[in-house]
């Protein structure tokens, strides 16, 4: 029965989102134009001469259209090329539903873990001085600089049957590789820097005075954290979480190595997109891809809103 409700609701959900997505596809150029117009109208000498402005704007627009808008349009056009019913059918296939489920589950796990670790790491780095701090920062950045395929292979070497912990895990019947834990681990590894990286500069900028004040007024460590630190960083934290989430859902390389590609079990959405494409099921493939794109677009819209809040310094004071 629960399955049934999932089947029935996801298409409607899609339709709800479609306009938002369309809006976002169109909005970057139009916003760009508006800004351009805002600059043009005062006609003062500080701006570039008209033709130069025109060429620059045209270039930027063309670039955006070719590299961002066009690919997005193609994804959606392909997804709907055989009508809405086959689009919906593609998304309600058991394999597709399982991939959606797995992707959301893995994203939830990685966001949860990285939220905790990221805040702790950023807190330690920004608020305290200790030996090896630079090393820790470098370590946090490591997943950014390592190719995702390598990140996946690391886990194969650690937890694979021929790896260091493999024999022990097998003897105790614990499945890490080619199962949800392995996929989650690889995703956590790849997305680790996002939260910490979003918080460190913010926390460093804010300094430690407020915390010191709270402690001198008799607050405990935890009270200080939840009453002072957390409210100060919550927008930055949300921003980091969103980026982390976007990457977690879209990760391909690392997950591909540790997934095992078991149909209806360990295929995430990005993996399924590739599999379906290779099986000539172009509509199904692009349907999943469009769903992923929509998730990404929603994330970006939310991110933009948050960014504005951050820019305008609308960090609400705690009560």
């Amino acid at each position: 029965m629960t399955m049934q409700s999932g089947l029935a609701t996801s298409p409607t959900q899609l339709r709800v989102y479609a306009p938002t997505a369309d809006l976002d596809v169109a909005s970057p150029p139009s916003r760009e134009q508006e800004r351009a117009r805002a600059i043009v109208s005062p006609r003062d000498s500080r701006t570039e001469p008209g033709p130069v402005r025109f060429v620059i704007i045209a270039l930027a627009l063309t670039f955006l259209t070719v590299f961002v808008v066009l690919p997005l349009v193609v994804v959606f056009a392909q997804a709907f090329s055989k009508g809405i019913s086959s689009y919906v059918a593609a998304l309600t296939e058991p394999e597709a539903l399982s991939a959606i489920r797995l992707t959301l589950l893995v994203a939830a796990i990685s966001v949860g873990l990285n939220l905790v670790f990221g805040v702790i790491a950023a807190w330690a780095i920004a608020k305290f001085d200790f030996r090896g701090k630079t090393f820790l920062i470098t370590l946090i950045d490591l997943p950014f600089s390592v190719s995702p395929v390598i990140s996946g292979l690391v886990f194969v070497l650690l937890f694979g049957a021929q790896g260091y912990f493999g024999p022990w895990l097998q003897a105790h019947n614990i499945h890490v590789l080619f199962a949800v834990p392995g996929i989650a681990l690889a995703t956590v590894f790849v997305t680790f820097p996002f939260v910490a990286r979003a918080l460190i500069p913010l926390m460093q900028e804010q300094g430690t005075q407020e915390e010191e004040a709270a402690i001198s007024l008799g607050a405990s460590g935890l009270q200080t954290f939840f009453r002072v630190t957390l409210p100060n960083i919550k927008w930055g934290l949300l921003y980091g979480v969103l980026l982390c989430n976007a990457r977690a859902m879209g990760e391909f390389g690392a997950v591909s190595v540790v997934s095992g590609h078991i149909r209806g079990e360990t295929n995430t959405m990005p993996l399924l997109v590739e599999i379906l494409y290779n099986e000539y099921q172009f509509v199904a493939s692009f349907a999943i891809a469009s769903l992923l794109a929509m998730l990404a677009l929603i994330t970006l819209v939310v991110k933009t809103v948050l960014e504005r809040r951050l820019d305008e310094g609308q960090i609400p004071s705690d009560d």
């Binding site: 399955m3 996801s10 959900q13 489920r101 959301l104 694979g160 021929q162 493999g166 599999i275 000539y280």
Partner: protein, 329 residues
């Protein structure tokens, strides 16, 4: 908005498969067999529950034959492997997961269905490609994947070599011929499906060397008005083998079902499923029924011409082997 989304998300996450079978098998296979095993699994599950009253669910994993073997070695819990070539199953056996004599445990080299290598050309065959000789004409662009990474590509390579060996009678001439052929290859994809997509979707090349079943599938998917299949008079007998992964099956207690699964291939029903999916059946009766579906091709085996997979792999595709030498020049 969140309040509306959350239950949906939660529903999606928790709505696991309500149906739990008595036994679950994992079949780790290679790329082009998706349709084949979708058919076969359904038929086997029905036959098995009719015979024993138990339900069985077969999960599938598909990928490049070599990387699938690697995944099983690294712990992918496959009860059964059904790969593109014996060498890949040998690699799993070498790690002790499968008994070394696996290929003797089932009839016909443990390959209940076979295929061969054919040419897929564009409609009307504009370059008039009829036989292997035509592939080394300088004007012909040949699409085939990289034999270092692709199982199908190794069959392609060995088929060309076997043809040249038979025609010219010496290994030197065969090497010359295969070298000339690879000079006509503009792009080496990593897998058989990649090459098919290059040829079919992107329109690169004049001829695609492909599994017969892949060629038929591409023709079915994209239309007979776009592509023609040319079967050369002589080609290789490609035997994609299968085996129970002893270690996994014994641990999970699924050996009986896994063996029944493989034996089902040798029944009338199994053979018919193979034939319907454009794999050549072994059963002479079914073979006769589907005679018209497959062109008459003289087929040589890898054992006859190359002395088995282990030797072929070492001589031709190993580090610094013949392929490395000819592709460098």
């Amino acid at each position: 908005m969140f309040r509306r989304i959350l239950p949906i998300v939660a529903g999606l996450i928790w709505a696991g498969s309500a149906f739990a079978a008595d036994v679950t098998l994992l079949n780790v296979s290679y790329d082009p067999t998706r349709e084949l095993y979708a058919d076969f699994n359904k038929a086997f599950a029905a036959a098995y529950s009719k015979e024993t009253g138990k339900s069985v669910e077969i999960k599938q994993s598909h990928g490049g034959s070599g990387s699938q073997a690697r995944a099983v070695i690294d712990g992918l819990p496959a009860d059964i492997v059904t790969l593109a070539l014996a060498y890949d199953i040998d690699a799993i056996a070498a790690k002790g997961l499968i008994a070394a004599d696996w290929q003797k445990r089932l009839p016909l080299n443990a390959s209940p269905y076979t295929s061969t290598i054919v040419f897929l050309v564009r409609k009307g065959n504009p370059k008039a490609i009829k036989d292997w000789d035509d592939l080394i004409r300088p004007v012909v662009d040949v699409i085939t994947p990289n034999p270092k990474t692709s199982g199908g590509a190794r069959w392609n390579y060995l088929a060309a070599w076997g043809y040249a060996l038979k025609k010219f009678g010496s290994a030197d001439k065969a090497r010359q011929f295969v070298g000339d052929l690879y000079k006509n290859v503009p792009v080496l994809d990593t897998g058989a499906r990649g090459s098919t997509v290059t040829f079919v979707e992107r329109g690169v090349g004049d001829v695609l060397l492909a599994w017969e079943n892949e060629a038929f599938l591409a023709q079915r998917e994209f239309g007979k008005d776009k592509f023609e299949i040319v079967s050369p008079p002589l080609s290789i007998l490609a035997e994609p083998p299968l085996a129970v992964v002893d270690k996994v099956a014994d641990k999970k207690g699924t050996r009986a079902v896994a063996e029944a699964y493989l034996r089902y291939w040798y029944t009338r029903e199994g053979q018919e499923i193979a034939a319907r999916n454009s794999y050549r059946p072994r059963d002479p009766e079914i073979g006769k029924e589907y005679e018209k579906s497959f062109a008459k091709v003289e087929l040589f085996t890898i054992d006859d011409v190359f002395g088995g997979w282990a030797k072929a792999q070492k001589d031709h595709f190993g580090e610094g082997g013949i392929f490395d030498q000819i592709y460098k020049n």
